[in-house]
């Protein structure tokens, strides 16, 4: 029996596990964030799912996870919706980085926290300034407020508040993603669009299924 047309048949028949991973990604975002709150940790940890799905299924599914999670969070806090663009970018970036094998190495994964934190911290601060004049929502805004009272102008205050906060958040986030990727069984990777990246690295003798198209 030939294996030639099995990949195209896979896409027709069973597709990959992407549509099942997306709800899990959304749940991981939500529960991760809630759990961080429960443990009273000073970080968000609400993008783990976005990056995980981006790293295993591709940028677009990751972006979708980020977008839907953002919409769900916005129901009780509408200003959050503005920052949805950041969540989408996290997903797209995760997919892009994954294709370059970043998440197969611990060092590279740690370094990836930098672009993520840039998006969250710098772009986030810019968005807060442009859209909300510097004061958006939540704990971040309180910090910004305190800094302005201490004498910083509102723009600097935003960057001072958001960038370190995001670095503090993204480093553990990418570490958790790396650890989960390490713990996933091979048979699961075999069914994910970007799974071949992690199978290749795992076993040199594995006949990885690379997309032909």
């Amino acid at each position: 029996m030939s294996q030639d047309n099995t990949f195209s048949k896979t896409m027709q028949g069973y597709g990959r596990l992407t549509i099942f991973m997306i709800p899990i990604g959304i749940a991981i975002n939500f529960v991760g964030g809630q759990f961080a709150l429960l443990l009273k940790l000073p970080v968000y940890l609400d993008s783990i799912g976005t990056i995980l799905v981006g790293a295993t299924c591709g940028g677009l599914p990751g972006a979708l996870v980020g977008a839907v999670s953002n919409v769900l969070n916005s129901i009780t806090s509408p200003p959050t919706m503005v920052f949805g663009i950041l969540s989408i970018m996290f997903g797209l970036l995760a997919g892009w980085l994954a294709k370059r094998g970043v998440f197969t190495s611990l060092t590279m994964t740690l370094l990836s926290a930098i672009p993520f934190a840039f998006i969250g911290g710098v772009l986030g601060a810019l968005l807060t300034i442009w859209v909300f004049g510097g004061l958006a929502v939540g704990g971040g805004a309180l910090v910004v407020g305190a800094l302005t009272a201490a004498g910083f102008d509102i723009n600097t205050a935003n960057f001072l508040a958001q960038v370190p906060m995001d670095v503090l958040d993204k480093v553990p986030t990418v570490l958790v993603v790396y650890a989960i990727l390490k713990g996933m069984p091979k048979r699961l990777f075999a069914k994910l669009p970007l799974g071949y990246i992690y199978l290749d690295k795992r076993s040199a003798t594995t006949a990885a299924q690379k997309p032909t198209a």
């Binding site: 029996m1 294996q3 099995t6 048949k9 896979t10 027709q12 028949g13 069973y14 091979k186 048979r187 990777f189 075999a190 069914k191 199978l199 795992r202 076993s203 003798t205 594995t206 006949a207 990885a208 299924q209």
Partner: protein, 282 residues
């Protein structure tokens, strides 16, 4: 035409080094209940995945040999048609609930919605299945709040409603308590009476002895025996496969060759009762 025809099939999962199936050849006929037994990792689940068509499309790997389902090559089947032709129930009651329906009634109807059954017929079929499986008390409940045993019954109901003639059942009771297991086997027995073709993987050998028409014995990815239930369960193949026999058979084999030997080798309690009762009354 045989229901399933497997010739010289070997299969190795894409990420694995050892073959999961080695040179397997089997012929399965319509209308029978085939029990598949063997130790863990003997290839039982892989065989089920193969028959069900999940191999090689869903579980990638290297497949050699010939597989025909209802006379057509496995690879020529449209996966969606194959899913409708062969129902499947497996071990985990929690992953077989769709999660998007609020009531058991709608959950059972879900499969029918997907194949485009008109509403009135849907209602009739679901009610029929609910009646036959005795789920009347559950129909309004939320499937996500049921116990494992209840969920497994709902999973069966959902598959039975789709009216496939051939059902593959992989260890349906391993996560259930004895009461729920009995209920599930009641459902399986009922399906058998309706003439469905069934492939059943199970460890509970006593229940298997009661319900299976033929047994397939597996070890290390090979089929080391296939035949009528009575023949297989009383033969040495069970020892080779390292699978326990039904209690009553063990007892009878222990008595064999002694003065108290039984006239026949029973495999179910009913048969044992028949063999022993003449002595008790006499």
């Amino acid at each position: 035409m045989a229901l399933v025809s497997i010739h010289g099939v070997s299969f190795t999962y894409a990420y694995s080094e050892q073959p999961a199936l080695r040179d397997v050849s089997l012929q399965l006929e319509e209308g029978l209940l085939y029990g598949v037994i063997g130790t863990n990792a003997s290839g039982k689940t892989t065989l089920c995945s193969l028959i069900r068509g999940l191999i090689p499309l869903f579980h990638p790997g290297t497949l050699t040999g010939k597989v025909e389902i209802r006379g057509r090559n496995l690879l020529d089947w449209d996966p969606a048609h194959l899913a409708r032709a062969i129902g499947c129930v497996f071990e985990n009651p929690f992953t077989q609930i769709s999660g998007i329906k609020d009531t058991v009634f709608e959950e059972i109807a879900f499969g029918l919605e997907n194949i485009g059954v008109p509403r009135e017929e849907m209602i009739t079929r679901v009610l029929g299945v609910v009646e036959r499986l005795g789920l009347q008390s559950l129909i309004k409940k939320n499937p996500n709040e049921l116990s494992g045993g209840q969920r497994q019954k709902v999973a069966f109901a959902a598959i039975v409603a789709m009216e496939a003639d051939f059902i593959v059942i992989d260890e349906p009771t391993s996560q259930l308590d004895p009461e729920a297991s009995d209920a599930v086997f009641g459902i399986i027995g009922d399906l058998r009476k309706q003439g469905k073709s069934i492939v059943l993987v199970e460890h509970k050998i006593d229940l298997m002895a009661q319900h299976a028409d033929r047994i397939i014995v597996m070890k290390d990815g090979k089929v080391i025996g296939e035949g009528p239930t009575g023949d297989i369960l009383t033969s040495e193949i069970m020892d080779v496969a390292d699978v326990p026999r039904p209690e009553v058979t063990d007892l009878a084999l222990a008595l064999k060759g002694t003065a108290k030997a039984l006239p026949t080798l029973p495999i179910t309690r009913a048969q044992a009762f028949d063999a022993i009762s003449p002595r008790l009354s006499g």
